[in-house]
Symmetry: C2
Subunit: 145 residues, 2 copies
Amino acid sequence: MEQRISLITLGVTDVARAKAFYEHLGWRGQEVEETVFLQAGGLALVLWGRDKLADDAGIDDRGTDGFGGVTLAQNVRSRAEVDEVIAVAVAAGAEMTRPARETFYGGYAGYFTDPDGHVWEIAWNPAFPLAEDGTITVPDFGAIG
Amino acid sequence: MEQRISLITLGVTDVARAKAFYEHLGWRGQEVEETVFLQAGGLALVLWGRDKLADDAGIDDRGTDGFGGVTLAQNVRSRAEVDEVIAVAVAAGAEMTRPARETFYGGYAGYFTDPDGHVWEIAWNPAFPLAEDGTITVPDFGAIG
């Protein structure tokens, strides 16, 4: 198996609501057959009906809308950008579950949930190189330890 | 907000078990402070204790280990590779929740769950250009419709 991810699909209860939320955050994509595809670097973030996603995956969805054990993170370029992105998300209807704060690794980060409870962290992490094109590189921890 | 994702963190109950599973699949990463970072193209897949992740995010984890409403997908280069990757995953302990089958969009795909119930789809999708470096591009659906 190659070491890469092509799509992240978020199951949602209302595709139009989810699409509007991400558009408020500045994301743009295409909707086709009640599925929204948002290019994100070399992969795509997909918004699709949670019931359809569970059925497609052959999964018994117990219907929780709480924490699913997965978080998405965006590393940004400054402390100020952490605050800015979280403020935009809250204005778009996100719930801020963890106000931005200093982190144990010397960064600054906070969390919010989207209208379906999917969890986003917005982080400034000086230890993780962030390229101009938005890609990140896991540092050599042996070298920086 | 820029339109990109830096990290995908999977909350796990046993970091060593999760790390061993992904290593069986051929993934390699670094473990630091009971957290595993696996570079995946321009982002990182992270394995971290689910309790720590929920606490960090300020989320009340109701403790389900079922479907969390999120799936990860890897698009591969052939139908045969779909079968191969799923077979490797099952040999590593994955549960195949949806055997590979023809899809409505003219592709071929199946699903499995990792030891913590996180859902992976392995798909061959001729409509989504897959570059040599593993990045995908969302096609212009207006153009191919």
